[in-house]
């Protein structure tokens, strides 16, 4: 699904795609997971409804280069903040975090402050998502 420019761009990279919180829609998360895989990444997918503590521990155990969070419930600020806290509590370095879902523009500065490297919405092209992740991991 990705074009030649992103082909293999994420080879050897480990990326966690996680769904924190209570919303039960993971089509978007799966589409992103497959796009990243097709760009050569090793993608670890957690499945639905995971706690911030669990996601942080998976990020550590799997030694991922980036964490992608799919959040459609509206509580993205709280969830991101808690995951960042939990990662710190485990002594992990700050890995780049990406957020996908329904995120109002007004929340972008706050997510940026929490260290989020990119926010993706359904309006974005998959190639652009892959390119943005690639750029953040160089």
């Amino acid at each position: 699904m990705t074009d030649a420019s992103t082909h293999g761009s994420l080879r050897g990279r480990r990326i966690l795609i996680a769904k924190p919180g209570l919303d039960g829609h993971d089509v978007g998360a799966k589409v992103i997971a497959l796009a990243l895989r097709d760009a050569g990444a090793d993608v670890i997918y957690t499945g639905l409804r995971k706690s911030p503590g669990y996601i942080a521990r998976v990020a550590v155990d799997e030694d991922v280069d980036a964490v992608g969070l799919s959040i459609l419930s509206g509580s993205h600020k709280e969830l991101v903040e808690e995951i960042v806290e939990q990662l710190k509590a485990l002594g992990a370095r700050q890995v780049p975090i990406f957020v996908g879902g329904t995120i109002p523009e007004a929340d972008l500065p706050e997510l940026d402050r929490l260290g989020v490297k990119g926010v993706f919405t359904s309006a974005m092209k998959l190639d652009d998502v892959v390119a943005a992740v690639t750029e953040a991991l160089v």
Binding site: G8, L36, R37, D38, G40, Y45, K50, S51, D63
Partner: protein
């Protein structure tokens, strides 16, 4: 309920060490190997193999619960296939091990199969070394769903479990001459589904032919969804098998496997480096050219470098 025992390993360190060896090149492995020959292993390794979709990950999740009783740590290495087209992978075994997620004694690492073609992953022996060195007493090793070629897990695991499920008849056909005969324990998973009885009978038939009837019945365990009897039976059978020890000197067999894996990868790298016009020559010429190339590499190789 008693509070869970505190884990004995350092999460961050294990994790970084595993990444280092899992992605190491042939040369890095050789340079890091040291001068010692393969030594005996203390950590118990339970290999779990079987065709895709038979429920290996779910079974491992349930089995891990049982293995954790009284244990201080448990490692799980779950391998999923690397795409030959994009070299990427989707590692989703965790989804089916859900209820393990909140137990800090469990360490799960998902790995792509990489260039390995026997259901395992590159440098899997070194991955197990790291886990042992980090203090784990036991590891569950889940292979990519494979059919006939599961020699790797047979070599590295102290006990090999083959998971089967009713309704996957074609896979049984494919496995009859291979792992069906070498596995120590057969699990008929999803045994609540139709066809399970027939599958058990089929497995017993293959075992009987392979081992001339010797206690074949004891090695087939039925596991049903929502029922813990089968899983407990499996865990007990594993303990029995682990206590019995290996029949042959596994140190030598493992060393041989490591060497074979490294040489195969090196050969692959060598073939990849040759220009495509190489293959216009005759078969004997090509064969000799590749051997000469490997010979030249051997002369340059200096492990202490």
């Amino acid at each position: 309920m008693t509070a869970p025992l505190q884990p004995t390993f350092d999460r961050l360190r294990v994790s970084k060490e595993l990444s280092r060896v899992a992605s190491a090149t042939v040369e890095e492995i050789l340079h890091g190997a040291g001068a010692e020959p393969e030594r005996s292993r203390r950590m118990r390794v339970i290999g779990i193999t079987g065709a895709p979709g038979v429920g290996k990950s779910t079974l491992i999740g349930r089995l891990a619960r049982s293995r954790l009783k009284g244990a201080r740590s448990l490692a799980i290495v779950a391998i999923d296939p690397t795409s030959p087209c994009t070299r990427g992978s989707l590692l989703g075994d965790r989804i089916r091990m859900e209820d393990l997620g909140e137990d800090p004694r469990v360490f799960i690492r998902s790995l792509p199969s990489g260039t390995s073609e026997d259901g395992l992953t590159d440098n899997v022996a070194e991955v197990l070394d790291v886990l042992e060195g980090s203090g784990f007493d036991e590891a569950l090793l889940e292979t990519v769903g494979v059919g006939q070629t599961a020699q790797g897990v047979r070599t590295l695991a102290d006990v090999e479990v083959l998971v089967l499920a009713p309704g996957a008849g074609d896979h049984i056909q494919a496995m009859k001459a291979g792992v069906m005969e070498t596995a120590d324990i057969h699990v008929v998973n999803k045994a609540e589904q139709p066809g399970a009885e027939r599958l058990v009978a089929e497995v017993l038939g293959v075992r009987r032919r392979a081992r001339a009837g010797a206690s074949a019945a004891a090695t087939v365990i039925q596991v049903r969804a929502g029922e813990s009897t089968g899983v407990e039976q499996l865990s007990a059978a594993l303990d029995e098998r682990l206590a019995a020890g290996a029949a042959v000197d596994m140190q030598r067999v493992r060393q041989r496997y490591r060497v074979q894996q490294l040489v195969q990868r090196r050969l692959q790298e060598t073939l990849d480096q040759l220009p495509v016009t190489t293959w216009d020559a005759s078969l004997p010429d090509n064969y000799l050219a590749v051997l000469r190339r490997l010979h030249a590499e051997a002369r340059q190789f200096n492990p202490s470098k």
